[in-house]
């Protein structure tokens, strides 16, 4: 029932971070210092730091120090990464333009209405840019009943998926990936040759069993790959 000392230390560190006392980029006390502060050996202090490094909360830089790490946006597996983060993690500039916002009463035969199962649906169409080059056209449908303020958000500051997951966590996702030839609209907005295929990613996200969002993402083949790393052990 007793808390190990290293766990106590790592909890204290976590508290300092979650209370914003130690913000992203902050250099935490050295292992020796932590050991002194908590009257522990360096090995024990180090083990506390180890835990948080493995959790992705801290980052070690040899010979320099240990720092509070930028939290990774979404979950680990075939992670639905935030496109804005992904672009900026490549050191590039992300921009977003909205093509249209609509409120729809879906016909029952459309794909998204079957999935969302809602009487009123918001639709938004956006283009994401990486360094002035369009990289993704995003069509997104959400249930108006669940996310009533969806269309009033400014998605150039907080991406649509960030906004949605701040309201309601994503617990499940269905993903479909296809290769398609672009429509005229896609050719125009993504500035394509007519012979460039596109990756079409259709993603239905659920929150505790309820469908939240139906999204269709188009990416020019020559500017985009989908990658994922799987750890099958465990």
């Amino acid at each position: 029932m007793k808390l190990p000392k290293y766990r106590f230390i790592s909890n204290e560190i976590k508290d300092n971070i979650s209370s914003n006392l130690w913000q992203v980029g902050y250099q935490i006390p050295s292992e020796t210092e932590l050991a002194n502060q908590f009257s522990a050996s360096r090995m024990t202090a180090r083990k506390a730091v180890d835990e948080l490094v493995n959790l992705g909360v801290l980052e070690r830089v040899p010979s320099v120090g240990t720092f509070v790490k930028e939290p990774v946006s979404q979950s680990s597996l075939l992670e639905i990464r935030n496109i804005a983060d992904e672009i900026s993690s490549r050191g590039h500039v992300h921009k977003m333009t909205v093509l249209s916002k609509l409120t729809l009463i879906p016909k029952d035969n459309s794909d998204f209405s079957r999935s969302l199962n809602s009487s009123t649906v918001f639709k938004i169409v956006m283009v994401h840019w990486e360094n002035e080059l369009p990289i993704q056209l995003e069509e997104r449908y959400v249930s108006a009943a669940q996310i009533p303020l969806f269309l009033q958000q400014d998605f150039s500051k907080v991406t649509a998926s960030e906004y949605l997951s701040s309201i309601t966590p994503v617990t499940e996702a269905e993903i479909t990936v296809e290769a398609v030839m672009p429509t005229k609209i896609l050719i125009h907005h993504l500035q394509l040759d007519d012979n460039t295929p596109c990756l079409k990613v259709t993603r239905i996200t659920h929150s505790y069993g309820k469908p939240v969002c139906y999204a269709v993402l188009y990416h020019p083949a020559d500017r985009f790959k989908l990658t994922s790393h799987l750890d099958l052990a465990q």
Copy 2:
């Protein structure tokens, strides 16, 4: 450039597992024993075990011992299902034809040689058919040193991925998905129009850290979608 001792120990353990000397459920030597075997302190031996526990390769049972853990079967997440199973689960007939079998001494600049890191590589090219319609062209590269009998298998009975996982379990995978226009060879073998894009799936699988297989799978866009279901909760 020197390998830390704990890494050396964990490599030795991994070797014992991947060579099937220590099978699933096997109780590995205790930490004290490992320390003696490798002339290390118990803390160092323990750190080696820690690594593999975190990787999900080993499992500790307090007061009892440490055991080789069951790897989760390949099917769980974003699984690329066995194409034969998938086709027959749709009630269709699967057939496979081999286009070529080769033994290669890879040049260092090829994608697969960088990944496989092997001096001799087997390559096999196959086409999978669903009800007399070609649905996938598979290019597969494996390390000759690791899988010496690869080319002698009859993959119409046991698929290549089944054979490989019977020899050595897949513990990790890197997957890349792209949309590409087909080459002439693809157009011919997959019986395509020249305007049909293809999904190109590149998959590198590892077994306990060692690369096992580099596979490139091409699917006609109009006959194939990649789907996957994710449970993000927990």
